[in-house]
């Protein structure tokens, strides 16, 4: 029913399909470029340090979120982080059931603002906040300079 008319046959209502289609290439940017080159070439994970307030940040940004000034100093991230929150996902990106659940974590690092939201390479029943984890990197040579160069985070032994 639309205001003053009614289409009698509901099958007459049409739908018009469309796709907001485009391909994207995103640059890592100024801060991201340094981070991903170090990760790819040297397996290092870096954060930034704001000269104004002293806060250390990861992931790195060109600016301090707090002071809104340019950040130029790079610092190494501690090897070990701690899981602050977990999520066990049982469906894929489209909502279809997954055979093996995925475990996601929010990982914090002592002395740093921020952290990573990434996969935890553990069984779902071990997904618990408080777990100490380390980054598991792809082998040198197969790294491309992207966040996927980190395969995920796993308990200390990895």
């Amino acid at each position: 029913m639309t205001f003053t008319e009614r289409t009698r046959d509901p099958r007459a209502y049409r739908h018009w399909p469309g796709h907001v289609e485009a391909d994207y290439i995103y640059t890592s940017g100024i801060a991201g470029e340094h981070f991903f080159r170090e990760l790819r070439d040297h397996g290092r994970i870096l954060g930034t340090r704001c000269a104004e307030c002293g806060r250390r940040w990861v992931p790195p940004k060109l600016f301090c979120e707090e002071c809104f000034v340019e950040v130029r100093d790079w610092v190494d991230l501690p090897r070990e982080g701690r899981v602050a929150a977990t999520c066990v996902v049982r469906v894929d990106a489209h909502g279809a059931p997954l055979r093996t659940p995925e475990v996601w974590g929010l990982i914090r690092f002592r002395g740093f603002e921020g952290g990573f939201v990434h996969r935890l390479l553990i069984a779902p029943d071990r997904a618990k906040a408080g777990l100490a984890v380390k980054a598991v990197l792809k082998p040198e040579g197969s790294r491309t300079g992207a966040i996927t160069d980190i395969e995920g985070f796993a308990p200390g032994a990895a």
């Binding site: 639309t2 205001f3 907001v20 994207y24 995103y26």
Partner: protein, 173 residues
């Protein structure tokens, strides 16, 4: 101030830098698929196209025949009143002779495209479409044209059920 700024920010990249991995990048293709409800006005409009007809709505408030059809009049702000067929002949309001195809690629045989106001609708009301059976030297604003419909079996309920608008022949319309 602007005269005294030593360096304006921005790091320029060359055409190949994104492609060739000179800088690190992420490639992505979003999933953004839709099926827009055509609703009352456009469902009927499309059904009529499939039958080889162009339909409008009239508004007795402002005494206009609105094409493309709509269920409300944007001038009077009230529901429109009735379905009205308009003719498939009309006048070229404006056009372009395009040496770019729909993907902005260069072409040598130009596409003629423009806006046709339709006979039977209120002044200037019409649609965008292609023009055919005329050359870039013939086409002009004010030219009288008629729709070239696809064969009934090939029509699906789309503005593409009209192939293009062609010059109106003597004795037509």
């Amino acid at each position: 101030m602007t005269a005294r700024i030593p360096r304006w920010p921005g790091v320029e990249l060359g055409p190949k830098d994104l492609e060739s991995g000179v800088v690190t990048t992420v490639r992505y293709r979003p999933e953004a698929k839709f099926a827009w409800s055509a609703g009352e006005a456009m469902s009927r409009f499309l059904a009529e196209l499939q039958e080889g007809r162009l339909i409008a709505r009239n508004c007795t408030g402002c005494d206009r025949i609105l094409f493309p059809p709509r269920m409300f009049c944007e001038e009077c702000y009230r529901p429109t009143d009735a379905w009205v067929y308009v003719r498939d002949t009309g006048t070229i309001e404006t056009y372009s002779v395009s040496y770019l195809d729909t993907d902005a690629r260069r072409i040598t045989e130009p596409i003629l495209v423009g806006v046709v106001s339709l006979d039977g609708a209120s002044p200037r009301m019409g649609m965008m479409h292609y023009f055919g059976e005329m050359s870039k030297d013939d086409i002009r604003i004010g030219m009288r044209v008629k729709a070239k419909w696809r064969a009934p079996k090939d029509r699906v309920g789309s503005v593409l059920d009209i192939e293009y608008f062609r010059p109106l022949r003597e004795g037509e319309g």
